[in-house]
């Protein structure tokens, strides 16, 4: 196995073009355990962390650009990002331990395509876009379109994610992420629920995104829950409707981490709780009307 650390996107693209069994990585927190458990070894390990763009976290007029290899510890330490995307940052902070946090990335979390990954539901709920580089240049897709099934992505050979783009949220908007794990830390989600809520000036839901993790091969958007919220106050019957819709939308499997029945039931509970938290945050005064 060879180690390479390109310093530009172009260099990385070229390297991947010349080495069919090369593998990009950021934190290697998924990749090394997978190799240890017997998955085929790549011939070249392409470390993306020496490319500035892949580690940068920048705030622009339109929103944020977050490098695909930026450690989640840096993401969590970014106050501006956390203020605008509290749920997405919470999801990032849930990955592994402090040790893992110093390595784990959004790019790896998404491209690893584990159905139980913590940040993809929040990336989806916030309509994040992934900028992808490859032999044919760069293209931008919705983060929701990257993972296509357990361990499978829409990335073609030689492509990798460069960065994520997030639009600045409208007024009275906030997100939340909740997950269920048997332990308090160091555990993989049995169910995850990401919610983003926009309120109107009267405190009714103007826009909603509800996305579930670990209950299907990829992140599930719960359209019925979103519809049940629009135009209503995020309380009482609306929350009950979210719970029922999320449970119904979940299409989980029985595995070592949980059962179908459990995941369905808890998907509803977490979605309801996440809606309540996101709505509470959306109503915070600092998220009021923007100039």
């Amino acid at each position: 196995m060879r180690y390479e650390s390109p310093t530009t996107v172009a260099e990385a693209v070229e390297l991947l073009g010349s080495e069919p069994h090369a593998r990009v990585y950021a934190g290697a927190t998924d990749l090394i355990p997978q190799i240890r458990s017997g998955r085929p070894e790549p011939t070249v390990m392409v470390d993306l962390k020496h490319i500035d763009r892949l580690c940068a976290i920048t705030s622009t007029a339109a929103g944020f650009t977050v490098g695909a290899a930026a450690p989640t510890a840096d993401i969590c330490a970014d106050g501006a990002l956390a203020a605008e995307f509290p749920g997405l940052v919470e999801a990032s902070g849930l990955i592994g331990s402090d040790q893992i946090q110093n390595r784990s990335s959004w790019g790896g979390n998404l491209a690893n395509a584990s159905p139980a990954a913590d940040t993809p539901p929040s990336l989806v709920a916030n309509c994040a876009r992934a900028v992808i580089a490859g032999p044919d240049g760069e293209r931008t897709v919705l983060a929701a379109e990257v993972a296509t099934g357990p361990g499978r992505t829409s990335l073609t050979p030689g492509e990798f994610i460069v960065e994520f783009e997030l639009d600045r949220p409208p007024a009275r908007t906030a997100d939340a992420y909740l997950r269920l794990t048997p332990r308090t830390e160091m555990d993989i989600a049995v169910v995850g629920a990401a919610v983003r809520i926009s309120l109107d000036a009267q405190g009714r839901v103007a826009d909603a995104a509800v996305a579930l993790g670990a209950v299907a091969p990829t992140v599930v958007r719960v359209a019925d829950a979103e519809a049940a919220l629009i135009g209503r106050e995020p309380a009482g019957d609306a929350l009950a409707a979210v719970e029922a819709a999320a449970a119904a939308a979940a299409d989980p499997i029985d595995d070592k981490r949980g059962t179908v029945a459990y995941r369905r039931q808890v998907a509803g509970v977490l979605a309801r709780r996440a809606v309540a938290t996101a709505a509470e945050r959306a109503a915070e005064p600092q998220r009021g009307d923007r100039p």
């Binding site: 269920l180 332990r183 459990y262 808890v266």
Partner: protein
């Protein structure tokens, strides 16, 4: 550097009971301590093991030729390289577990091993060993093993203890029965009878250090093994047995051990490394991966338990019946028998019967785990007692106090108990502020008691006095939790010198007398007694030397606070007290080096009782259980080093809580373990636990000079029922299957809700 210590002595002892900085501590906080995997010898090869992918299969053939031809490979061994072993041999199971012969009995069973210049080469060669298997139907659960048409794992296995004697082989290794009184009459006398069933899953000891060893066989055949084990004399004899060697051919040097909890009382790698080394003529290092540790080393047995209790309305337990089935993995084990010895031990029950079965299945051979079998019997007994208390309207604490065994009561096996501290532990919990603290919403409190009988066995110690009056204390007990500190304290107390002037060390198999494994909570009790005996022999010698120096009769010399003091009626001129250092400094002129030994077979270990109180908070919508407060009182007899007694209690609680809530082996339908790593085998992490208030109760054990009772194991016994009782108190649900994971707790809550709604 200065190192300060808290708590000066108590109970009239000068050193015993103080919190000495452990002598091996500095090396461990600076990264210098050598654990087995830290050793590297010049020219050393690396070993790798070929393991079965099948849970049950016949080995048709093994072709090592491709592996042997690979780069760097120096030796390859299979079962054929070891002497054949007869199923009747006492250590047969251990031998064929370490390397399979004609059959493999679990996924991960070793079938061959390779040594090569680098670990990568060894692993590549191991992957190139071609093993042809004929897969057999795997038997994974107790029910499958006991089914009428179950495939029989071991064709030689006739049920031991069966009445009438077994004629055909089966998967039931043994039956154990105890009884006393008249069961039928007992139940007839009861006002309330309750019968319950319990089931559990295998769990792993979960020590953080994987098994590791280095073996070096010289051209004369003499082999030195450095390894991490709970008993290096046992490593020596087991390795010798497997290889057909004499004990003298092997020297085992104990490395620091990174946790064992019973799992390192047996061996796995050492004979393989020794065989590879003797073939290759080079040292061979072998280290397991975490996945190998989970798949191929000792989980604790799991069990199905049925208990029936009868109580009078005043709370007196008048009858109890237990039927226990323990699954011990691929080979016969003692889970059931130990379960039978613990299920009713805590309470005085006039009429009882226990039947325990030990069963084999196609999972890794089980090994001891802290108070083996007892946590599961306590799960049954202590939760049913809770139910009885609830039913009879008696406080759970009062019910236990009413029935608790005390000195003189007969044990299940009929022997009268010596002085025990059960009632004292119950009282300690009752008077603890935790007992009456208010609970928050969704919180519940559970009480449970635990018992472990402890063992004595053989121990040896040597005390050598150095010219400057310092001492070296050599024992044969690997130190798995700070026992060297306790040895230094006891020796200091006996010799009357500062414990900092004593260097306690663990000697190799050629440096100290035979010593049994560190197990059964025996080190401080039995090896401590050997140290005390060696010190007392030393004091006799010192008094003799002082007599020579003072020109007095030895009978006129006492040993007081580290000094020989003349107490005779004669002229005391020139007979001023002589310090140990002065006598040691003159040893050359009074008879030569000062050395004394103590070797004994320790009896009277005396059981340890413990009582736990646990508060949980249950999320009623997700079934997640958080431990919010925990208090554990345990009888330590005398705490030689209180910090390490507390540490044993706290560690036992943490393991027991893990067992209760989330730990379990998960197998797929072919018997392949699905969670062989710490991400999905969920031991508690720091944020899963509160502080664990350890209350040391001291009811001295009459069989130890300082009153020590072993404390290493009992702490793991009550947590499972304490958590279960707390969950019941919080939710009204009784859970009788482990683990009490969120999935299972929510199932119970949902089912209870449905029942309530249904009327």
């Amino acid at each position: 550097m200065t190192i300060t210590e808290a708590n000066p002595g108590y109970k009239g002892y000068k050193y015993v009971g103080t919190r000495l900085i452990r002598p091996d501590g500095l090396e461990k906080v600076t990264g210098k301590a050598r654990f087995a995997a830290d050793l590297n010898l010049a020219g050393q090869l690396h070993g790798a093991v070929v393991r079965s992918p099948h849970a049950h299969a016949r080995i048709v053939s093994i072709d090592t030729s491709r592996a042997e031809a690979m780069p760097g490979v120096k030796s390859v061994i299979t079962g054929d390289d070891f002497p054949s072993v007869d199923p009747g041999h006492r250590q047969y199971d251990m031998c064929v577990n370490i390397i399979a012969r004609d059959k493999v009995f679990y996924e991960g069973h070793a079938v061959a091993a390779v040594a090569a210049s680098t670990l990568e080469q060894a692993r590549a060669a191991a992957a190139a060993v071609e093993v042809e298997y004929e897969a057999l139907q795997a038997v994974l659960t107790i029910d499958e093993a006991m089914a009428d048409d179950a495939p029989v794992l071991h064709s030689h296995m006739l049920t031991r203890g069966a009445e009438p004697p077994a004629e055909a082989p089966s998967n039931v290794a043994s039956v154990t029965r105890f009884s006393g009184g008249d069961l039928e009459a007992g139940f007839a006398e009861a006002d309330f009878v309750v019968e319950r069933e319990f089931s559990t899953k295998p769990v792993h000891q979960g020590y953080i250090e994987p098994h590791a060893c280095v073996a070096d066989t010289g051209q004369d055949g003499h082999t030195t093994i450095w390894c991490s084990s709970q008993g290096h004399f046992n490593v020596r004899s087991s390795t010798a047995t497997l290889l057909g060697w004499e004990n003298t051919r092997i020297k085992v040097v104990p490395a620091e051990i990174g946790g064992g909890f019973g799992g390192k009382t047996t061996i796995y790698l050492e004979p393989l490394a020794a065989a590879l080394s003797s073939q290759a003529g080079r040292p061979v290092k072998m280290v397991m991966t975490r996945s190998e540790v989970f798949r191929a080393t000792g989980p604790a047995p799991c069990a199905k338990i049925r208990v029936k209790f009868g109580a009078r309305s005043d709370g007196a337990i008048v009858a109890a019946d237990a039927h226990l089935i323990y699954s011990n993995g691929a080979y016969q084990g003692a889970g059931g028998m130990l379960g039978a010895m613990t299920v009713f031990e805590s309470y005085k029950i006039p009429n009882f019967a226990v039947e325990a079965l030990d069963v084999v299945v196609n999972t890794a051979r089980s090994a001891a785990y802290r108070a083996p079998a007892a946590p599961l019997t306590a799960f049954a007994t202590e939760t049913v007692l809770d139910e009885i208390a609830e039913e009879l309207g008696i406080d759970a604490m009062d019910l236990r106090l009413k029935n608790a065994v005390k000195e003189g009561d007969p044990s299940t096996m009929g022997f009268p108990l010596a002085r025990v501290g059960f009632a004292e532990c119950l009282e300690a919990i009752r008077s603890h502020p935790h007992f009456s603290a208010p609970l928050g919403p969704n919180q519940g409190r559970g009480l449970a008691a635990g018992y472990w009988f402890n063992i004595g066995e053989s121990s040896s110690a040597i005390v050598n006095l150095n010219e400057d009056g310092t001492a070296t204390v050599v024992t044969g007990s690997p130190d798995i939790g700070g026992s060297r500190a306790s040895m230094a304290l006891m020796a200091a107390e006996e010799l009357g010198i500062d414990p900092h002037d004593i260097r306690p060390v663990v000697g190799d198999t050629e440096a100290v007398g035979f010593t049994d494994i560190t197990e059964g909570s025996r080190a401080t009790f039995a090896t401590g007694r050997a140290v005390v005996e060696a010190c007392r022999n030393m004091v006799i010698e010192l008094r003799g030397r002082a007599a020579t120096m003072m020109e007095a009769e030895v009978g006129d010399i006492d040993w007081v606070d580290g000094h020989a003091v003349y107490t005779g009626d004669g002229d005391s001129e020139g007979k001023e007290p002589l310090s140990l250092a002065v006598i040691a400094g003159k040893a050359k002129r009074t008879g030569g080096p000062l050395t004394a030994t103590g070797s004994l077979e320790a009896h009277g270990a005396g059981p340890s009782f413990t009582v736990h109180l646990c508060d949980v908070e249950v999320d009623p919508e997700t079934g997640v259980v958080s431990i919010v407060r925990y208090t554990a009182a345990q009888d330590a007899g005398t705490a030689i080093h209180p910090s390490y007694v507390e540490g044993q209690i706290q560690g036992g609680v943490a393991q027991g809580v893990g067992w209760a809530l989330n730990e379990e082996y998960i197998y797929d339908s072919d018997g392949v373990m699905e969670n062989p790593g710490f991400l999905d085998y969920r031991v508690p992490v720091a944020s899963d636990l509160p502080m664990i208030d350890a209350v040391i109760v001291e009811v001295p054990n009459p069989a130890h000079p300082y009153g020590v009772r072993g404390v290493g194991e009992a702490g793991i016994v009550p947590p499972i029922p304490a958590v279960a009782n707390a969950i019941h108190s919080a939710t009204g649900c009784r859970i009788r299957d482990l683990p009490m994971s969120p999935v299972r707790v929510l199932e119970a809550i949902t089912a209870a809700g449905a029942r309530a709604n249904g009327g």
